[in-house]
């Protein structure tokens, strides 16, 4: 069927901020969809609150609404744009849920908007376990035995019948949020009570445990004519019990006979048909009993998902693109396979390589949180590796993670080496982020593959492959590098060893290993991902590296090449923002006439879409792998400053190897990173900065502290996202933090900075071509100084700073950028206290705020930076005079993942812990701020009881806020000290005791849902104070809370704006 002509405009709903379980894979799929729909001639209207996405680039849609993805806001967009149709299956659970609500409330019908790509009944059958189970029963497909609980008592009764352990799944939550495995009554009670609250339907499924079974995922596509295909099968290395997002997974399925695979295939297609998926992509998950082959369906998602992004990257089949075309009426046989250009998309990709995906965790950021992997996803990112064998791919995946490991454990770097045999073997039964390395260590110490299988339930196929990998490592250990011949290198490489690991095993160093290897002629070959195992010729240059091959498929260079190093796996502190910058660099450099080459290993991103750059190398961002790509492609320039810390760390080594670095020189980067060199530079420029010192041990730190004075900001060098940072108020705190910082970064000294308590912080991003500087934007932080800039809400333009102060910042930025010799982007952080502008730090690279500022100002900073790197001058770029748009405020707010990590402190501090961000746009600062809160909470606080407890410094200012809250209809509850101030100011409030005195019932009140808003401004770093319990409770129960008075003030003004109906929507294209 050809495309539909009866619809002209289509609303696409995005997935909002990056959160655990819903990350930038939806930017990839959404961006693909928008591109395709526009190609097909439709008017595309987009709603997404996440400014760091490629999909919200104004060029990708006809009208781009950076607005909260709530039914209310989407309805406003619909009312304004009157789209003919809405495509909700590409924006994850958020997009889907919003569409369902709009359909159910009649909004879609009222405005004549047709849901395409799915319908509400289908979504319900896919997600409502009861309906789903009925469908499965019709098909004769088994589900695990289970029952629904609407109360803890229900759950106890069902678990009694099934026997422990049982699996708990709250209905309609994202990424399995609130789920878990209960092994006993206590665990059941804990998880169910939490799950009932998280589930919009207050419903929890209690299921027989199929822990330890083999787990599979099928990526399926279907068209309106009924054609169905399996794009990819995925087998989890971690058996059932670990969320698939937290599992190491392998594509294609490795251990199914054809009979079993085809049965699963037929079942998957039948599931889509029975559930009623008319068109689009879905995934279906199965568990298979390892000894009987009994097959049980786990779930299906009637939409594009994280694993469809993975499947697209793993096969070269663009699922989201195809899904968008199918939604507008095409059938699979009418869509051409992009890769071959001649054959149709109605086929099943065949691959001639092995893909391994490994999850990236961030438990170090959430101390106190349980790091056991369960059915509730905790990973913050992932990497994908492509090799010819599982062994090759696993080694590659593990060194792609950027956790400091060089592969499958041969580097001897992990904590596992310090464990006794007993501890080590016992630890294997608990799935954790580190378990794969524990497995390597156990095999190293002589554990058999069989025993590893018994302790972990990992399939024997994988255990044996891993045993071979370790056997090869151990055979090499202690040998001299010069005794290795080409064949020894080939074997090492074939079993997944990196040069860095070979160096450890042979007592050499990575560069010598590389040199020896190349002298012996052991060089990698690059093969191509082409959907067809080379059956048909393809033009797409989507490559991966292997060893021991006869032929490489990289095309000859015919014009200048620019190589862009990506940002690697998403983690806290380095996420989609940097991918956005890399993608923009690719576009800009292509425009400048370069053949662009992307190197990255993150399957969730737009940068690893095969048609983003001229060539894509799906490789780890290590020295070895990047150099191999450099050797194969001979680039004329390498971009290292747009992918965050990952490529930056490589800059020096690449330059030393003679690789041409584009833009700011590695020495300038070092000048900014090196505190002493930078301080000397600031001194020479007569620029103020907080007093600081460097210390190599506690003694030095103490004496420095005496000199500078408390409070102090302590941090190790060379880290991103503020890892290991802290504020200390006294000697005891200093001792604790120095010990911790040393653990994070032992080779680097610790820095101590005067902490400017109460200062206002600002971020400034600028472009510099070596002669001229352009101020891209200034962001004023809403949280007070001391909260990591990545976690702080901020506003462009500054809402409280005078023009004089802003000019001062701009002038300082100019001086610094020119003095550093920046060619491209620079980010400078300022603190303003008592009218004095202090420089906190300068980073001559793309910052996290670049996409936000670009969206807010319409000036594409990353693209311009790339053009500067390619030699253009600012003067020729014709930029607007000032970044601010009159009458518009743009607020960025961070999204915190604390709900995923019960036990971790939810207090904002100098350690970055947010996963993503949203943008609010309005004509006033509070209104814009309010929008960000609604974009995160998907609702606004509607009155009820507000709880206030502020520190002594804030007590004087709290009365004003409290009065406004009362005016907004809140009743107040305050701790004694705060209550005394309020009463003195004539604000009525109830009093509650302090928690540690055992008198308070606030936590209970929060748990009971009696509190709807909380203002709690703590001081100091102790986590045992009252605030700890309060904020934990607030996070767990999803209560809006502010931890600074500035935030509280904005929140209240915003609520006033919302009540006054002042929150309008406007597309970026109109601003």
């Amino acid at each position: 069927m050809p495309k539909r002509e009866d619809i002209k405009s289509i609303l696409v709903i995005g997935s909002g901020p990056i959160v655990i379980g819903q990350a930038c894979e939806f930017d990839y799929s959404g961006a693909q969809a928008c591109k395709v729909l526009r190609e097909e001639g439709y008017r595309v209207i987009l709603v997404n609150s996440n400014p760091a996405t490629i999909m919200t680039d104004p060029e990708l849609a006809d009208a781009t609404y950076v607005e909260p993805i709530t039914p209310a806001f989407v309805e406003k967009v619909i009312a304004k744009e009157r789209p003919d149709a809405c495509l909700p299956t590409l924006g994850g659970q958020t997009g889907l849920n919003t569409a369902v609500e709009l359909a159910k409330s009649g909004v879609l019908e009222r405005y004549g908007v047709e849901l395409i790509g799915c319908d509400v009944d289908v979504i319900e059958r896919g997600e409502d376990r009861k309906l789903f189970n009925e469908c499965m029963a019709d098909l004769g497909i088994e589900v695990s035995r289970a029952g629904y609980a609407y109360s803890v008592e229900d759950a106890l009764a069902i678990a009694e019948e099934l026997g422990y352990p049982v699996v708990l799944r709250p209905s309609f939550t994202m990424g399995g949020a609130g789920g878990g495995i209960a092994r006993d009554v206590a665990e059941l009670v804990r998880i169910v009570s939490q799950g009932l609250e998280l589930s919009p339907a207050s419903e929890v499924l209690v299921e027989e445990s199929i822990e330890g079974w083999k787990e599979y995922e099928m990526e399926v596509m279907r068209d309106a004519a009924g054609n169905g295909i399996i794009v990819c099968s995925i087998e989890n290395l971690d058996p059932m019990g670990v969320h698939t997002g937290d599992s190491i997974t392998v594509a294609p399925a490795q251990t199914l006979t054809d009979l079993e695979y085809q049965r699963m295939r037929a079942a998957s297609l039948a599931v889509l048909e029975r559930v009623g998926v008319a068109t689009g992509g879905s995934n279906v998950q199965f568990a298979v009993h390892p000894e009987t082959g009994r097959m049980v369906i786990i779930e299906m998602n009637p939409r594009v998902s994280r694993s469809s992004a993975l499947a697209s990257k793993a096969t070269g089949f663009p699922i989201a693109k195809a899904a968008a075309r199918l939604a507008v009426g095409y059938t699979l046989d009418e869509i051409v396979n992009d890769m071959t250009g001649t054959t149709p998309a109605c086929f099943e990709p065949t691959i001639d390589y092995c893909v391994v995906k490994a999850p990236r965790f961030a438990f170090e950021k959430f101390q106190g949180a349980d790091d056991t992997l369960t059915t509730r996803m905790k990973a913050v990112g992932e990497v994908m590796a492509v090799g010819r064998t599982f062994e090759e791919s696993l080694g590659k995946a593990l060194r792609s993670l950027e956790t400091g490991r060089a592969g499958f454990g041969a580097d001897g770097k992990g904590e596992e080496t310090a464990l006794t045999d007993e501890e080590l073997f016992a630890a294997l039964s608990r799935p954790t982020a580190e378990r794969i390395f524990l497995a390597a260590e156990a095999l190293r110490r002589g554990m058999s593959a069989e025993e590893l299988h018994e302790r972990t339930a990992i399939d024997m196929f994988f255990c044996n492959r891993m045993a071979d990998m370790v056997a090869v490592q151990e055979a090499l250990r202690g040998c001299a590098l010069e005794d290795m011949d080409a064949e020894a290198f080939q074997i090492a490489k074939r079993y997944g060893l990196s040069d860095a690991e070979i160096a450890v095993l042979t007592g050499s160093d990575e560069r010598t290993v590389r040199a020896c290897r190349k002298i012996l002629g052991v060089r990698p070959a690059f093969k191509t991902v082409d959907t067809c195992a080379a059956e048909f010729p393809t033009k797409t240059a989507y490559h991966y590296k292997i060893y021991d091959a006869d032929e490489s498929e990289v095309a000859e260079k015919t014009r200048p090449r620019a190589l862009i190093l990506g940002a690697g796996p998403n983690r806290i502190g380095q996420g989609i923002e940097f991918d956005y910058c890399c993608v923009h660099a690719s576009y800009a450099l292509a425009d400048a006439g370069y053949e662009t080459i992307m190197v990255n290993c993150n399957p969730e991103t737009v940068s690893t879409d095969y048609d983003t750059s001229d060539m894509l190398f799906f490789e780890p961002l290590t020295y070895e792998d990047v150099m191999d790509v450099v050797d194969a492609t001979d680039p004329d320039g390498v971009v290292v400053t747009l992918g965050g810390q990952t490529p930056l760390k490589l800059a020096r080594a690449l330059e030393e190897a003679g690789v041409p670095i584009m833009g700011t020189s590695p020495d300038a980067i070092d000048l900014a990173e090196d505190r002493d060199r930078f301080a000397a530079l600031l001194d020479s420029l007569d620029i103020a900065y907080p007093r600081s010192a460097m210390a190599s041990g506690l003694e030095e730190a103490r004496s420095a502290a005496r000199e500078i004075g408390y409070p102090l900001l302590v941090r190790p060098s060379y880290v991103l996202g503020g890892r290991g940072m802290g504020i200390v108020y006294d000697d005891a705190g200093l001792a604790r933090y120095v010990a911790e910082a040393t653990a994070v970064s032992p080779d680097h000294p610790v820095y101590l900075d005067k902490f400017l308590e109460g200062a206002v912080e600002c971020d400034l991003d600028a472009l510099c071509d070596g002669e001229d500087v352009y101020i891209g934007g200034i962001l004023e932080h809403i949280e007070m100084a001391g909260i990591h800039s990545g976690d702080s809400a901020c506003c462009l333009p500054p809402f409280s700073l005078s023009a004089k102060v802003q000019d001062e910042m701009a002038s300082v930025a100019r001086k610094i950028a020119l003095a550093l010799g920046v060619r491209g982007l620079v980010n400078i952080q300022f603190a303003v206290k008592d009218g004095v502008v202090y420089v906190i730090e300068a980073n001559p690279r793309a910052s996290r705020t670049v996409p936000f500022i670009s969206k807010a100002t319409g000036v594409p900073l990353a693209k311009l930076a790339s053009r500067i790197m390619a030699g253009e001058k600012l003067a020729a770029l014709k930029l607007p005079e000032h970044f601010a748009k009159p009458g518009r405020y743009f607020v960025k707010e961070a999204v915190m993942p604390f709900g995923r990590f019960p036990g971790a402190d939810a207090l904002l501090g100098p350690e970055m812990r947010s996963t993503g961000e949203v943008m609010g746009i309005a004509e006033s600062f509070p209104a814009a701020y309010m929008k960000t809160q609604m974009a995160i909470d998907y609702a606004e606080p509607e009155g009820g009881m507000a709880f206030i407890s502020v520190n002594d410094q804030d007590k004087r200012a709290v009365a004003f806020i409290a009065r406004e809250l009362v005016r907004l209809g809140f009743s107040l509850l305050a701790t004694e000290g705060t209550a005394a101030v309020l009463r003195a100011s004539g604000v009525p409030c109830e009093v509650t005791g302090k928690i540690h005195e055992g008198k308070s019932s606030v936590v209970d009140a929060i748990a009971a849902g009696e509190i709807s808003l909380m203002i709690n401004t703590p001081l100091g770093v102790a986590t045992r104070d009252d605030g700890y319990e309060l904020r934990r409770a607030a996070v767990r129960h999803g209560i809006t809370y502010a931890t600074t008075l500035a935030a509280a003030q904005a929140l209240i003004a915003g609520m006033q704006a919302a009540r006054a109906g002042e929150l309008d929507v406007a597309p970026l294209q109109e601003l």
């Binding site: 009979l259 079993e260 064998t389 195992a533």
Partner: protein, 450 residues
């Protein structure tokens, strides 16, 4: 090999390295190590793109005379289960893989693939760049090749391979057929497949199967759809077959050049119109030959489990298993019948055009009347299925039994049963519904606790 390299290799679960060579007649050389029986094997090289199902491929009699390259690099992961084998013994000449797994893992596994190949005397080579080899075959076409573990001299192997017989004109079906007739019924179905497959239908039809190298899964598929089979040798005279009074006759798949299997297509010519006929792969070519079709040799054939085939009657696309190097030419069957071909009077070169027009064209055949093109390959526009309108017969080039591969075309077995019932609408079957009928997904349907 250095001492270190030897120790590293010895530490793995791989057997000791025995060098082996693969040499193509155009001079391309690939070095690897042996992973099957020792020896030297000559054949025509081709590649299969299935991701799994290596045992089904290795035992498919249609691969007689061929050296098969598997494009998926790690092979043997789940071992070997004899019930999955398509014939008693492998018929292919040699197997070429990137990496053979010596430590299989599956609850169904009985032995490793390496042990199986060795036991069956199949020469196999691993450790070569199979992707480079596939690209070479794709660009230079199928050709003769040799795999040797006994001769390390490339020049000598090249000379030998150039002297080895070509497949063209060789009747390989005779080699893989049966010696005499035998019956095959529900009692012969592989018991161990019971966990996944539905119980067979009650037997309703007596069917004679011409065994030109038939895959066991085809026999299983026919039995499952209610046929009691008498399997007869490839050259059994039509009169003998008709004398058995069958409800239908099935012409099986088989290896090699269809031109060389004259005895079979001459029987087909006699059978057409006398009894309902169904043919798969070589059987399809036999029926086309009987109708006087020209047969083309494909550059490197279709071997895999992901080929899209469009059913021109319904527009639906089936993802199919394929294994053939020859293909009948639809245009050669006769002139178009305009009133049954959407008014078209001229043949089109690319048969996919019919799919775009939504027409299943019909030709007037000199011998058997009207023949309809029912199926077309969407990758390259080759003919994939014919239905005879004036005699009860139809055939497909691809493999509805799959094994290995997707079972979308399972409905063709059902269609054969309908044809034997005398229904005109025998091909009018919803593939999605039919696809489910052969499977058993679970032991219990009810999962919910009250």
């Amino acid at each position: 090999m250095s001492k270190i390299a030897e120790e590293m290799r010895a530490a793995t679960s791989k057997p000791a390295a025995v060098p082996a060579l693969l040499v193509l007649e155009d001079g391309a050389v690939f070095a690897g190590t042996s992973c099957g029986a020792p020896g030297e094997a000559f054949g025509e090289i081709c590649f299969n793109t299935s991701l799994e199902g290596y045992l089904e491929i290795a035992t498919d009699p249609s691969y007689a005379g061929q050296i098969v390259v598997l494009t998926y690099p790690q092979v043997g992961n789940y071992g070997v289960n004899a019930d999955d084998a398509q014939a008693q013994h492998p018929a292919l000449r040699a197997l070429v893989v990137r990496d053979l797994c010596p430590t299989p893992s599956s609850w169904r596994s009985q032995e490793s693939l390496g042990d199986y190949l060795t036991r069956e005397g199949v020469v196999a080579i691993e450790g070569i760049d199979t992707r480079a080899l596939v690209r070479h075959i794709r660009d230079h076409g199928a050709q003769r090749a040799v795999v040797s573990t006994t001769d390390a001299d490339v020049a000598s192997l090249l000379e030998k391979v150039r002297r080895s017989p070509s497949l063209v004109g060789v009747n390989l079906a005779a080699d893989v057929s049966c010696d005499g007739a035998y019956s095959y019924t529900a009692a012969n179905l592989p018991a161990s497949h019971g966990f996944a497959l539905a119980a067979p239908a009650e037997p309703r039809f007596k069917v004679v199967v011409y065994h030109c190298g038939v895959k066991r899964s085809i026999l299983d598929g026919l039995v499952a759809s209610g046929c009691e089979l008498t399997v007869v040798p490839w050259d059994t005279p039509a009169e003998e077959v008709l004398a058995m009074g069958p409800d239908g006759v099935f012409l099986s798949n088989g290896p090699g050049d269809p031109e060389a299997v004259g005895e079979t297509y001459r029987q087909a010519e006699k059978l057409l119109g006398r009894v309902p006929l169904f043919g798969i792969c070589l059987g399809h070519q036999m029926m086309a030959k009987a109708a006087g079709a020209e047969i083309d040799k494909l550059k490197f054939g279709h071997h895999g489990g992901n080929h899209p085939v469009q059913n021109l009657l319904t527009g639906r696309v089936e993802v199919t298993a394929q294994n053939h190097g020859f293909c009948p030419c639809f245009q050669s069957l006769g002139a178009l019948v305009p009133e049954l071909s959407g008014g078209a009077t001229e043949h089109v070169e690319d048969l996919r055009e019919w799919g775009r027009r939504g027409i299943a064209p019909v030709v007037a055949n000199e011998r058997f009347g009207r023949i309809r093109l029912t199926h077309v390959n969407l990758d390259d526009g080759t003919a994939e299925g014919f239905a005879f309108l004036d005699v009860p017969a139809f055939s497909v080039q691809y493999h509805p039994e799959a094994a290995p591969g997707p079972t979308d075309a399972h409905y063709l077995f059902t269609a054969f049963a309908r044809l034997m019932e005398g229904r005109d609408d025998y091909l009018d079957i919803d593939i999605a519904t039919d696809r489910l009928s052969g499977w058993k997904f679970g032991s219990t349907a009810e999962g919910e606790v009250a």
